[in-house]
Symmetry: C3
């Protein structure tokens, strides 16, 4: 992989990319997208009217939940990150503009699809960096604690875990496993290369998913096969579903409502193309 | 403000007041009032009959919940305060007397209104000191972590936060903000003066509220105006309500049931005068 | 007590017993019994089919919940124990075999009563050691923090506390109190003797209870009298119940449904003999 990058003269680019500062541009995008997702939650606008303090707290959890959880996991102060006043103020300004801007102007700007796609891509840059930093931080505290590295990297990459939302994508989990393997020297790549590659993968898949309004996972097929082999789970074959008539659905009674609606959404997305 | 206090010869008094020990008299009043509030909770007496251990745990949470939360917030051991055996034993004795005293004698004594008013005032002395200590403690750990100071001071002042009861008064929050501003040298007063002034304000407003069986907040009017200006919340004008017939109520559909019953209670309190 | 042991030449045995390593044999038994209890929970098999990650997390909580809680109580990292990769892998292997083994073979082996009785006895050996270690650890951090020692020893002895299941036996709580009294030199026995005696008591009573499918507590009678004296609780006389006709039950309206079904189970167990 290093060789391919060398040919493309990407080694230096990866090096520089992995050293680039995140504050304020990338962090701003992170806060905007995070609080945008909060505003999409049913009832959040009403809460912002009735109790601004509660709404602000939720916004902070959406923006800094991953830091809070990672600090808890490593036995530190859960509000340790709140010492960075400029980050808190920036996120608070975004929260204020998104919820209380006259005519809802700010919201309309950032929710405009082309703008949103750029912001979503920038957010994934921050996410990948946080996973890598989380794994690295944990590896300093526990030299051979590979489970701890994966856990800390995972919670660092997924802010919404603090709300007990175990997302269907699990991309942060796979990222944390990859970066832990890199930290343990089981992967023959440098960290900067891995950051670049994983950022590219995450940003592109997220942009495509946002553009298509899809909530599926790019890992669904692999996951389904691995689960079938290891745990005897029924194959949820997302590809084959399209060849069967809907009457075939009741044959797998374990399918949850969520999975079914997921399939339905995918089918709609396919038709729309 | 210092000048006014100087004229009244209050500077020395504030100095001495802020150095006065809290154990055992003030702490005792704190435990009595806290566990009294626990006994007011529906079902608490039944729990004390069926499971004394659970009842004791609740009582400890009511008495030391603010220490537990503050220790968690600063990344320490949540049971750190339980090392002070004498405090735990004093609180346990209060719990035992309040729940299991023959003929309910102890409860009848401390719930007698004049006694209760004194205890409530003493409790506010402890609360103010805890807020000031919490802000000071946090400022040592995080020199410019103003958000952290406010959070730690806030949780230190409100024991019931650990039960996820976000009280309607928020007095501890405003106290924490004031003490943080003092710590950051944005307020031109000494800490002992602020302790004296805030204690006086808290104790007097709490005594008045307890005497009138009111659950309103002394900040309601200011809050309502600030929320209106910053967040466009509808003005909840507590004064104007009385001029409208009850039929006007449905005009603000956002009013929660709690607020409504609050208004009803206020109206009754007014009539009773 | 030391004298009795001296006559029986048990002093050396206790010494050696208290120094015996727990890994891997005893720990293996601990993991098997813990995850067996998880599999008894309604719905756990279904969860293992639908979401192996969630099932694995539950299994880890059942196996290491006591370490997690004790680390939280002492202000450390809740996932500190996850640095011991061999323990995690061993527990994960047990989880995999218990839930996904073809023909459910492993489950049938370990759930076979004679095997299970041995495993249950071995588990109590580990539990007693964990209580003693927890109390000792806490006594290092807080020299006179007797309440903290009891709390840490208690949570160390009961993995299921992390799931907010306050078991009816409370044996770990009494163990923690005994070991704290030993640590404070209020009990005239050496720690190794106490470990041996408490292990013997716990293992024998647990084996008898498992063999009789009973969920009662060996302390029920003493508890009932102490509660009656201290807290005025009605005497729950477990022995006398059998002499009364069922019509006598409504005379104690405080009896919860759980207690009633407990009594019913006991009566059945008695008939079965």
């Amino acid at each position: 992989m290093e060789a391919v990058l060398g040919v493309l003269n990407l080694g230096d680019f990866a090096q520089n990319f992995s050293k680039m500062g995140m504050f304020p541009v990338f962090d701003l995008a992170y806060y905007i997208v995070s609080i945008l997702y909060l505003k999409y939650e049913p009832g959040s606008v009403e809460v912002s009217r009735r109790s601004p303090v509660a709404s602000w707290l939720c916004a902070m959890l959406y923006c800094f939940g991953s830091y809070i959880l990672a600090d808890i996991m490593l036995g530190g102060s859960p509000i340790d990150y709140f010492q960075y006043n400029s980050h808190i103020l920036l996120a608070s300004a975004v929260w204020y503009l998104l919820f209380y801007c006259p005519l809802n102007l700010f919201y309309k700007c950032v929710a405009f699809l082309p703008v949103k796609l750029v912001l979503v891509a920038l957010k994934e840059v921050v996410r990948t960096r946080k996973i890598a930093a989380g794994v690295h931080h944990a590896s300093h505290a526990y030299h051979h604690g590979f489970f701890i590295m994966v856990i800390v990297g995972y919670v660092k990459g997924d802010s919404t875990l603090i709300m007990f939302k175990f997302g269907p994508t699990k991309a942060s989990l796979y990222g944390a496993i990859l970066f832990t393997m890199q930290e343990a020297h089981w992967l023959p790549v440098s960290k900067s290369t891995l950051i670049l590659a994983f950022t590219f993968f995450m940003a592109s898949s997220k942009v495509v998913m946002t553009a298509r309004h899809s909530h599926g996972s790019p890992f669904a097929l692999i996951e389904s096969w691995v689960c079938h082999l290891l745990f005897g789970s029924p194959l949820g074959g997302s590809e084959e579903d399209h060849h069967h008539p809907p009457a075939a659905a009741p044959s797998s009674p374990l399918k949850t409502k969520e999975e079914l609606s997921d399939g339905a959404r995918k089918r709609k997305a396919k038709k729309a193309e």
